[in-house]
Amino acid sequence: MDKNWAADFLGRLSASWHLLGVSLRRLLWSRQTIISAVLVVLAGVAAYAWARDRQRQPSDFVEEVLLTVYVPFLLPILCLSYATAGIATDRDEQTLVYLVTSPLPRPFIFLAKAAAALVLSLAWTMGTLALLAGIAGKPGLEVFRAVWPGLFWATVAYVCLFQVFSVAFRRATIYALGYALFLETLIGNMPGIVKRLAISFYARCLIFDASAAFDVGPSGPFNELLFQPLPAATAYTILYAASAGLLLLGLVIFCTREY
């Protein structure tokens, strides 16, 4: 019996692995990739123009590139374009029926789709960060080495959040865009503790923490009193917990929902 169970489980793993591969290929050759590529090229051109203007410092890169363009705009958009596409596109195009009537249990389907979205989102967010840092030159690369772990986990949290959108709503991309461009910006810049509901808040806390050596902190619009940053350890813990919680929430919704 144990042997049967093990063989069954291995069969399911193999099927999930195949679904992951199919989902990766379909997401890669999709309009999401074209949109992401256009956005990254535009950001790269802007970074190039910015970098050749005058001698830049790492703090300039953090404040004028990362906190102005990358964290509030590129990071969520790159994440949502793949994370909301996985299951929601299957649902909108009515191809989900083939997956949910197959003997592959729903948790395996969800995790395979989420993994495909995560791999591509991480490739784009980390690749874009490296590209912008490379274009900015030495100051950019110094910042990249310091901030990438925080932004890696912010990407994971965003992907998990947008997976929830993907399984919960029809036309998930529209809802996710509304959330990323309006709600997240609004909540993330509110005074007090309400901003702790926004993933971008933790991304900024981690950037400030990692960039302390470059003399960057919540000054100006990110006034220390107004911003009230959390220590890096706390921000990481919350991102881990949020990612796990959101992934579990998406899993529960997908496994219990009738499509």
């Binding site: 379909r26 009515q94 191809t95 009537t101 009738e258 499509y259």
Partner: protein, 317 residues
Amino acid sequence: MTGAPIPQPLCRFQAASKWYGPVIGLNDLTWDLPPGITGLVGHNGAGKSTLIKLLTGQLRPSLGRVLVRGHRAWTAAARRHIGYCPDVDAFYEEMSGRAFVRMLARLHGFSSKTARERTDDVLDQVDMAERADRPLGSYSKGMRQRIKLAQALVHNPDLIVLDEPLNGVDPVGRVELIRLFRSLADRGKSLLISSHILDEMDTLADQILFICRGRMLASGSLDEIRALLDDHPLKVRIAAPRARQLAAELLRLESVRSAALESEGQLLLEVQRPKEFFGPLAAAVAEQACDVQRLQVIDASTEAIFDYLMETAKRPR
């Protein structure tokens, strides 16, 4: 003493009901799927799709249970036994038909080699082996139907659920697919076929499940259901040269309710108990030395029975 384990019925609905908010999709259905080909007949909104979705694990019953080989239909264990050909015309359009079927074979847990072999086999069965390497987006409706059918058969399931499988298939293709359905049934598979083309059910289905407003109206073979419709005598048309004399003879039978001479040489009978009619009819024909040219039961088709059932269902109790 231990006996052989009692085999689980392939598919069983146990007082299964499904509501969509205040709307009832399926109402207290208790039914076992028999072997062979079963037709599922009902108007739009009658509950056919709900029944199929419950059976294929896309929906869960609000009340009662739907079991496939003893497993709840919602579970992955149940879905192993089912091949589903949906009515929606949706595919991964960029894939070829072969790649699509192979991908779904892999999702059933087959190794790459086995999936390839099974894919080739089912594509051959649905006569798509030569045309399966083109992208799905370039297929005709009939070819797409065949690919949907191939993916439903690829894991060799016990139960095949087909939702409007002949939609868009040309007449020659229909004959081929009906022959395929019959050969699957002959190999011991159970097929549940939903179709709005009732003419096809007459020749295709071994038994029919009629549903209306979420309730089962009747189930069984057409003959069995027809025999239960006491309010609607069977109409039999007989073409014979001496129809008038034959009518006079047949009117003596208790089972014959009325006889009308439609034209010289053509008789329309209303028969109440068909089982008690055909034996004496043969005797009467022999006695009269009547040369019967044609004998036709004109209201035992799926469509006629469905109309009668609907009429009965609408009648106030």
